[in-house]
Symmetry: C2
Subunit: 126 residues, 2 copies
DNA sequence: CCTTTGTGCAACTAAGTAGTTGCACTTCAT
DNA sequence: ATGAAGTGCAACTACTTAGTTGCACAAAGG
């Protein structure tokens, strides 16, 4: 899994020894919040697979209005998952999935706690 | 990172070769949705660190009502992150972080797409 | 210049969510 | 048996979010 490594190579996912847990509240809110919507995940996936695109084009791939799609894009951008670039009269949105490392960071730290707990509860009836 | 390995050992995070992407919509919705709230993440962390607890006890650790906490617990449970067990007149909530693997699965698959894209765009101005 | 295509802004509706309060019900201990 | 502690259910408020529509503004292209 190339990415797992990449995430850690960046040093982004687990910024330091001190746990991500309890910290990063705001960032994690917007991040997980952004990922909580299926439309938004689809948009991210579309942008990843087919490359940068405009809100208008993206809207054609969904049953939604351009405006609705635009709002989703803005949510994703606020979460740091997207950025945009103006070309002519067009605005191209592009994925910037670095923040995903933050999400993975929290999950891994949390799962880590769980591991330690498991060590103590090893043979519990479950 | 023991957990990363554990997640894959389970075979949960990336169920098969076919991408998690586009699938698991509902599960990911509730999962990311559940994680999007700081109070809920705190509850999970508390339960992990201090072990199973009742809604009443958990409520004492927050500025919130027992009822509010209970609703959060129900959201977490609906996401599969918690389960509960009745003891006497008490109801103990306990963490079941297996679903976290699902979240990591999506993120990894997505980041994977990004990796492939990166291969093609390698020397882009960023 | 004027039409087309794409974007930006704003108001509005509908529905979901966080949180509260109040009260009824169960379990335990004296 | 009776009171205390813990839980369950329901109604209600305030706020946020998804989505819409309508229209004004900017950039190409004939």
């Amino acid at each position: 899994m190339a990415v797992g490594i990449a995430l850690h190579r960046d040093g982004v996912s687990r910024p330091s020894a001190r746990s991500t847990v309890t910290a990063n509240s705001g960032a994690l809110d917007t991040l997980f919040g952004a990922l909580a919507d299926p439309t938004r995940r689809l948009l991210v996936e579309h942008l990843l697979i087919k490359g940068p695109a405009t809100a208008t084009v993206l809207a054609e791939t969904t049953p939604l209005t351009r405006q609705a799609v635009l709002k989703h894009l803005q949510v994703l951008e606020a979460a740091g998952l997207l950025d945009h670039e103006r070309v002519g009269r067009e605005v191209r949105y592009r994925v910037t999935p670095r923040p995903l490392a933050t999400a993975v960071g929290w999950i891994l730290d949390t799962a880590d706690l769980w591991d330690k707990r498991i060590d103590r509860l090893r043979r519990l009836p479950t």
